[in-house]
Symmetry: C2
Subunit: 125 residues, 2 copies
Amino acid sequence: MSVEVSAGLQALDGDVFDTNCPSRGVLEHVTSRWGVLVLAALGERPMRFSELHRRIGGVSQKMLAQTLRALAADGFVDRQVTPAAPPQVTYRLTALGEQAAAHVVGLVGWIERHLPDILAARGGA
Amino acid sequence: MSVEVSAGLQALDGDVFDTNCPSRGVLEHVTSRWGVLVLAALGERPMRFSELHRRIGGVSQKMLAQTLRALAADGFVDRQVTPAAPPQVTYRLTALGEQAAAHVVGLVGWIERHLPDILAARGGA
DNA sequence: TCCGTTGGTTACCTTGAGGTACGTACTTTC
DNA sequence: GAAAGTACGTACCTCAAGGTAACCAACGGA
């Protein structure tokens, strides 16, 4: 793989074209079906579980929880529990997450803005 | 859905948070497992099929062909056949594809550069 | 009193993404 | 004359992504 220890402490950059590079895993978390949308949503503002669930159309509770766990494990999302009568859990982006989300939001925004062009290129205008 | 005809000719922007918006489909093509890597590879330079196959570690011929077809259908990739003794097919980004690829390359590049940070956040330093 | 909300987990089941393997038609190289 | 490279298409099969449904505990409102 591409991330190795050379003299004992050196961490090299990743190479997504390499099957065995761990960056592949990170890329797949970030670009996963629901991962993209979670990052984009949290890029707007921190949200609670049910708020995210309502914001992201079509996601099941199971997949939302699973996606949030994966993003939290990669250090992109911070899970914050406020002990209260109805359980209250807030998710927010970490510093790392905000940078990743910025790129994702850029891509998502571009797609949304250029959707007419894309559909035109498809239908063959 | 979010892309509709209002007065008869107006095409609105998409909304990826809406399950029924066609932008969801486009987003999933672009962020698909192999779609990201194809866009990133073609962002470097136009390539032939076998060149792409070698460049992108782990992709099968079947999935590469399928991904290229999807991206071509969305108008991101141009397929150019040069009739020759050994078949010669070159793939290049369209104008639309270059813009999309720019965002993807940005994200991929960020992940590659920050991989050490991400792995550190994971392992829990 | 019973329902709905919150934030999940778990079990079960289906679908489809994606891998393997083989066919093809032609050509160059050993 | 046998193998290998080019650019796929197709059939077959597997495994995991992901959906559905049920459950939980505590509280507020009708």
